[in-house]
């Protein structure tokens, strides 16, 4: 029988097997970065034809978000020209700080021009995504040629948005680190194992802050990560002898934390207080991540409010400057919004491609949740992912946000990854996915930009 101490030694001193996994992840990362650079080069070779101006070179930062990141790096955050209601106008505040900070760091330290620094950041982010994505798949038990599949997968799944320098790449990279930390197998229940657990939890909290500062879409992960906390704790408790279902476990966790309150009330009533002992083992890393995300949000609220002198300035920007497609929590309006996707083009109004695109993005995230090939943890998180969207109505840009969410990428990767050595079916899945991604890219680049120009993607009907 293996003693706990021997397990710890195994974790601390990587065996050749662990080294092989890390090496494979590293290789995946390098392959992915090479692919990314190749796609960036291809896009820029064809940028003239995309923009109908073959005589002009369009640098990577030459798109609306890219210009703003360059401005943030060069000028810092500022506010719109002070009008009667500055919260109604978009400000640089709406673009989060991690991506421009990395651009600045590369620009200052290596002297890379700011119009190209974003490409370096996105390339690096792609590498980090693939490295930790591979390790996450390993954590989830997908251990057969998975890294190579992920390398092929992530580039096309990003379709258009990962080609360009944008915060989506850092959101995906930090999100992947988050998911890797969440899916790490539990450490041995020894003093050393618990120390490693504390380190993991502290790092999870820090990564949570960082994740929030890459994109506010990290808020959409709060509900899925809450599920991860209960699910992982439940599974760990089961190994310690807990014999009830998930819902009972959730109730037990709540009761455990209000135990002093219950005892107090019972004492007031002059009755004794006895609770049945349950073997609950917590996995604190997801909760630490949630706390980190909330801390990051609070920090950004303070920064923007103190910069502007307006209470909750960042939140007001998100709610008013970036209009919502339906009032918060109004699911009927949400339904009506998405129905627009099926309304044909008329002489007066173009096809509502925005509604169709956002609907497709969310449905595409849910497809892996329907597959038994995907681990229950990921399926549950995927199902809960769109809830924030439905509650908030913040549909703007949801296509790229959903696709650059680590849970979605891992969900698709699990759907693709072979559980048994059947190269033919894996090949078929790869062909299907790649075909879908390249077809999407083709439509977006060469057909949908023209429809975008008509304002058909606006959240408000025209």
């Amino acid at each position: 029988m293996t003693t706990p101490d021997r397990i710890v030694i195994t974790v601390a001193s990587p065996t050749p097997n662990v080294l092989r996994v890390v090496f494979a992840a590293l290789l995946t990362s390098i392959v992915g970065m090479c692919l990314y650079v190749l796609i960036v080069a291809l896009v820029h070779v064809s940028s003239g034809s995309i923009n109908n101006n073959s005589e002009t070179f369009y640098p990577p930062a030459d798109f609306s978000d890219g210009k703003r990141y360059v401005k943030i790096c060069s000028r810092g955050y500022d506010l719109p020209v002070l009008g009667p209601l500055v919260t109604a106008e978009t400000a640089l505040i709406s673009w989060m700080p991690v991506y421009p900070a990395l651009q600045c760091a590369i620009h200052q330290s290596a002297g890379v021009s700011l119009v190209f620094a974003g490409t370096y950041v996105s390339t690096l982010a792609t590498g980090i995504t693939l490295f930790f994505g591979s390790l996450t798949l390993w954590n989830l038990g997908r251990r057969s040629r998975v890294p190579y599949i992920l390398a092929v997968l992530v580039q096309p799944i990003g379709a258009l948005w990962l080609y360009v320098p944008g915060a989506e790449s850092t959101y995906l990279a930090v999100g992947m680190v988050t998911l890797w930390l969440i899916t790490l197998p539990p450490f041995a229940d020894t003093a050393r194992g618990r120390l490693l657990e504390i380190i993991r939890i502290a790092v999870s909290a820090l990564i949570g802050v960082l994740l929030m500062l890459t994109k506010p879409n990290a808020l959409a992960l709060l509900i899925p990560i809450t599920f991860a906390f209960f699910y992982l704790s439940w599974r760990r408790s089961q190994t310690a002898g807990y014999g009830f279902g998930l819902w009972a476990f959730v109730a037990d966790v709540v009761i455990e934390h209000i135990r002093p309150l219950l005892a107090f009330f019972q004492r007031l009533r002059g009755q004794s207080f006895v609770l049945e002992e349950r073997s609950i083992v917590y996995d604190w890393a997801p909760v630490a991540t949630i706390a980190g995300i909330l801390l990051g949000l609070a920090y950004w609220l303070v920064y923007t409010s103190w910069l502007s002198g307006i209470p909750f300035y960042f939140l007001q920007q998100q709610l008013f400057a970036w209009r919502r497609a339906w009032p918060t929590g109004n699911l009927g309006e949400a339904f009506l919004y998405f129905v627009q996707a099926f309304r044909g083009a008329t002489r007066q109004t173009p096809w509502r491609v925005g509604a169709a695109y956002y609907l497709a993005a969310n449905v595409s995230a849910l497809i892996p949740a329907a597959s038994s090939r995907v681990p229950t943890l990921i399926r549950g998180m995927l199902l809960l992912l769109p809830i924030f969207l439905l509650l908030s109505g913040a549909v703007n840009g949801d296509d790229r946000y959903t696709i650059s969410t680590s849970i979605v990428v891992i969900g698709w990767a699990c759907w693709l990854a072979p559980t048994k050595p059947r190269p033919f079916t894996v090949g078929l899945r790869l062909v299907f996915m790649s075909g879908l991604a390249w077809l999407t890219s083709y439509f977006v680049l060469f057909h949908l930009f023209a429809i975008y120009a008509l304002g058909a993607t606006s959240v408000v009907d025209r």
Binding site: L82, W284, V287, A288, L294, L295, T304
Partner: protein, 265 residues
């Protein structure tokens, strides 16, 4: 460390983080008021022109304000002149290509380049008179008819890079526009405020002046009471006290001007 201790520690850690977040949210709900717009400036001391986060874009110093009587033969109205000196601060700028052409100055950081011109000079005179900068007209006359070389302020626009300072003379007057005629007027009180062109500003200095107005409490204590002087005396004084703005011409220069401008003789 036992499992129970770890659980306690984690609960404390998470409560600590969430408490920190709650404190930050309370702070976000009550941000300090930003100082926006003009503030009363002091003469003779560097006054900051403040960008966002109160980061100074530039420091402005104004000295020697004076109402000047110009020689009648020039057929120009009286003018108010003062010596201005501006030093670059640190607030980042947004520079237009026409102000700063990177091809010509490729080794200079464009984001340091601060631009200041007449558009940034705003006036408020409650009697309805309007401000007019006299530098172009008075400048030509001073060059032609006096023995002084003057560094004029703001024409062409001032371009300041890191650690640079620019100093010069600014002259102006006020007028009423009645029936399409400009009538010279000297307001009994007015203020001048100064902004820079290419920085988003939080606040900027405003200088208060008065002339022929009784002293009372309605004016800020920093208000300057204008005195009248002759141009020649004023320039001779500046040649000593503000040599970066006014210099006495050399004899050779005076001789050259004498041949070029017959009216000097």
């Amino acid at each position: 460390m036992q499992r129970d201790q770890l659980n306690r520690l984690m609960r404390f850690l998470i409560a600590f983080i969430l408490a920190g977040a709650a404190i930050l949210v309370v702070m976000a709900a009550r941000p300090p008021a930003r100082r926006i717009g003009i503030y009363t400036a002091e003469f003779g001391k560097p006054q900051p022109i403040l960008g966002l986060w109160d980061e100074p874009a530039a420091f402005l110093t104004i000295t020697h304000p004076m109402l000047l009587s110009l020689p009648p033969s020039w057929k120009l109205t009286d003018t108010i002149c003062m010596v201005m000196q501006v030093t670059r601060g640190t607030a980042p700028t947004t520079t237009e290509f026409t102000d700063f052409q990177p091809q010509a100055q490729w080794d200079v950081k464009a984001l340091d380049a601060l631009v200041m011109d007449y558009d940034g000079i705003r006036s408020r005179a409650v009697d309805g008179s309007a401000l007019k900068i006299d530098n172009p007209t008075v400048g030509a006359a001073v060059t032609a008819f006096t023995d002084y070389q003057v560094h004029w302020f703001g024409d062409p626009p001032i371009l300041l890079l890191k650690d640079q300072t620019f100093g010069g003379l600014l002259c102006y007057h006020y007028y009423f526009n009645v029936n399409q005629l400009d009538l010279f007027h000297l307001p009994f009180s007015y203020l001048l405020s100064f902004q820079v062109r290419n920085v988003l500003l939080d606040s900027w200095p405003a200088y208060y002046f008065r002339y022929n107005a009784p002293s009372d409490a309605s004016y800020p204590p920093q208000t300057f009471t204008l005195q009248r002087d002759t141009l020649d005396h004023y320039l001779s004084q500046l040649a000593i006290e503000a040599p970066f703005a006014v210099k006495k011409l050399t004899k050779a220069q005076i001789d050259q001007l004498g041949t070029e401008v017959p009216a000097r003789k």
